[in-house]
Every structure is written in C-alpha cells, then in structure tokens.
C-alpha cells in the first residue's frame, strides 16, 4: 500500500499541509515501513487549476490513498473518478496522520469544501490583473 500525505516539508516529521492543490509537498509513504518519498508539488504556483493539476499528480503517482486537509470541488471531481481512498487529515505531523490512518481513526472525505478564499475563488491567484 502507498499513501500520499500533503506536507509542508519533505520528511515524515513535517506538518501535514492542509492545502491540497497548493501544498508544498506530496509525501508518498509506505505505512508498513514508514519509508517516504517526497514529490515537490509543481502545481502550487499555478495561476489557476492547481487542484486539478495536483489531482493529476496524485493519479500519476499510483497510490492507494490520499490524506489531506481540504479538497476543492474540481480536485474532488477528478479523484472521485479513481479508486484512490480519500481521507481528511488532522492538523499534526505526517507521521501522526499515518498512525491515525493505520488505527482507522481518520475520517473519509465526505463532501468538498468551497474553493480556497484568497486564491481568486479557485480560478487563479488575484483575479483582476491576473488573467492569462
């Protein structure tokens, strides 16, 4: 089994990043060995569609589960089209989130939240003056 946790840093002791599309890193973790591989989230600076691009990266990483703080509607649409299990993380380290996942304590993602405020309503950072 392979799990991706959105992370503010590249190690298992980093804090889980509550942002999905604009998370700093995607940490691929093997829950049995707790071995990690960090993927730099290239889409976090995208002017628009960061959640979609991040969801594509998760699919391309061929994982079984995703733990993150907040999935926007577009990202959720993409990920719901896969068999990847989606979990709401807790505000703690990546390691702690893995422990809770293994203990069956993390909640599956139910509905999507709204797009992130302050990021141009999910349509790009800074709407007026940020087009194209």
């Amino acid at each position: 089994m392979r799990v991706i946790v959105t992370s503010t840093g590249s190690t298992i002791d980093s804090q889980m990043d509550p942002r999905f599309g604009r998370a700093e890193y995607f940490l691929i973790v093997d829950p049995d060995t707790m071995k990690t591989t960090a993927i730099d989230n290239a889409s976090r600076h995208a002017s628009g569609g960061a959640g979609i691009a991040a969801a594509q990266a998760i699919i391309d990483a061929r994982v079984d589960a995703l733990v993150t703080g907040h999935l926007g509607p577009n990202a959720l649409n993409v990920l719901r089209d896969t068999k990847i299990a989606l979990y709401e993380g807790v505000p703690s380290t990546v390691a702690e989130n893995l422990n809770q996942l293994k203990a069956g304590q993390l909640k599956p993602v139910s509905a999507s939240g709204s797009s992130y405020p302050g990021q141009g309503g999910g349509l790009g950072q800074g709407r007026r003056g940020g087009q194209l």
Partner: protein, 276 residues
C-alpha cells in the same frame, strides 16, 4: 483614431474622462472595455438594441475513441484537462481556447465546441458599445477581441479600459493611437500611474495625463509628469459638486458648460497629440 483611457488604479475617473470625451467629440464612439463590470452606460444611458453573443471554442472528448494517453492534459498550460483511469475530464472555465489539446490528440478524440462567455451590446448608431463577461467567467480577452470589431475606423473611439495593467488592459491598448492616463495626486495614484506609464511606453503609444481630484498641491504627479515628459492635459478639481453629480449619474460635461468647454478643448487637441 483610437484613444485609450486607462489608469492603473481603479476609481480615478477613467469612465468620467472617456465618456465625457465621447460626448463632446463629433462622430465618436464610447467603447467600454471593462468587461468585468462595464459602467459607462450609467452615464450615457444608451438603449442597447443590438447584441452579439461571444463564444469560445473548448474541447469535447469522444470517450469511445479516447485512449487515455494523457497527452492533452500534459500539453494544457491552464490545467483545464485531467486524465483519470476512466476518462478525460474537462474544466472548460479554465480553458484558454488555444487548441493545443486537439492538436496533440493522436486518436482524434477531441473536437472543439462553442461555449458562451459573454455578450457585446451596442446602441442603434454604434455610439455606445460595451462588452459584458458572464458571471463566473474568468477570462475576458475573447470579449475584447470581439469588441474591436465594433470600432469604426472613420470615427474617434474612446476605449474605457479595465483598471490595472493586466492582459485585458494590454489587449485594450493594442492598436490605439494615444493613451490618456487618469490619475489622482496620492501616493497610490502615483504608484499605479508609474505602472501604466511604463506599460504605454513599452507598447510605444504616446500618452498624456488627466489629473483628477486635483487639490492645492499636485506636485506628487507634476514631478513625475515632468520627469517622464508626459503632458498634463487636464486637471479636474477635487469637488463635492462633481462627486454629487457623478453619484446621480451626471458627468461634469453634462452638468456645466464650463466643463463641456474644457473637455471639448482637450478633444480638439487630441489629433495633434496623436501625430506628436
């Protein structure tokens, strides 16, 4: 002749200046390029009797042919496509209509279909024309492209640009003969004037300044204007009367013959300024 009215900073008086000039100029047009919230109609009160829907071309996937190769999603610079194990999902509101996805689709599974993003409205004589982006649409550039079709080369067109110095402003400025930079004597006004002045200089468009909300000390703008050889074309005082009239939908040129004269004088100078 095409005259762009821009400002950088919002709320400095672009619409006042553009609509006033259009009113006092014979054989003119007022083109509202602020497609996110056109407001010139509040003052010119045109009867929009003509309209044309603006559409863009967005990808549609034929799932029976698609091989899920992912080439379309990889080429897309705007994250408007995602490939899941089951299908290709399209997010047409993010699409910039470049057509790259259909070009790279070896299976030929992508066709481009029309999608409405807004409307152009005009009065019967084509004096007042405005673009209006539909609510929720992020990209107004195709509306600006369509707006320019309504500009009559034999008339003097005043383009009321969007605020800022974004792609939409650049797009509005293209092919303009002269730019009027509207500003106010504040640090914020100066800051955004600097950006607007640099933009028109980069684009090689001659420009002058209209100083709105002018007070006793306007040196913050006057020094910049002198240093950058930008003529101050007109000063509009910081006046309660002008603000009151404006909030009632009345432009200075409609409220007083003095202002009609001053704007008329500026309009008369424009052909000479365009030629340099």
């Amino acid at each position: 002749m095409r005259i762009a009215v821009l400002s950088g900073k919002g709320g400095t008086g672009k619409t006042t200046v553009a609509a006033s000039l259009a009113l006092v100029t014979a054989n003119s047009q007022y083109i509202d390029c602020d497609v996110e919230e056109p407001n010139g109609f509040l003052y010119l009160t045109p009867e929009f009797s003509r309209s044309s829907v603006v559409k863009v071309r967005v990808p549609q996937i034929d799932e029976s042919i698609c091989t899920l190769c992912g080439a379309c999603a990889r080429i897309c610079q705007f994250n408007a496509l995602a490939v899941t194990p089951k299908r290709v999902l399209t997010f047409s509101e993010l699409c910039h209509h470049c057509g790259a996805c259909s070009l790279v689709c070896e299976a030929g599974a992508i066709t481009e279909v029309d999608r409405r993003i807004g409307v152009i409205e005009a009065d019967a004589v084509g004096f007042a024309v405005q673009g209006q982006l539909d609510v929720g649409e992020p990209v107004g550039i195709p509306i600006l492209d369509n707006l320019k079709i309504w500009i009559d080369p034999d008339r003097t067109a005043f383009l009321d640009c969007p605020p800022g110095a974004s792609c939409a402003v650049v797009h509005s400025l293209e092919d303009c003969d002269y730019a009027i930079l509207v500003t106010e004597p504040t640090p914020f006004g100066l800051h955004d004037l600097e950006i607007a002045a640099e933009l028109v200089k980069t684009m090689g468009i001659p420009a002058g300044i209209v100083l709105n909300k002018a007070g006793n000390d306007n040196s913050i703008i006057e020094i910049f204007a002198a240093e950058h050889h930008l003529p101050i074309l007109l000063k509009i005082p910081y006046s309660r009367q002008i603000a009151t009239d404006y909030s009632n939908g009345v432009l200075p040129v409609q409220a007083s013959s003095e202002w009609a004269y001053l704007f008329g004088e500026l309009a008369a100078r424009l052909p000479g300024l365009v030629r340099g």
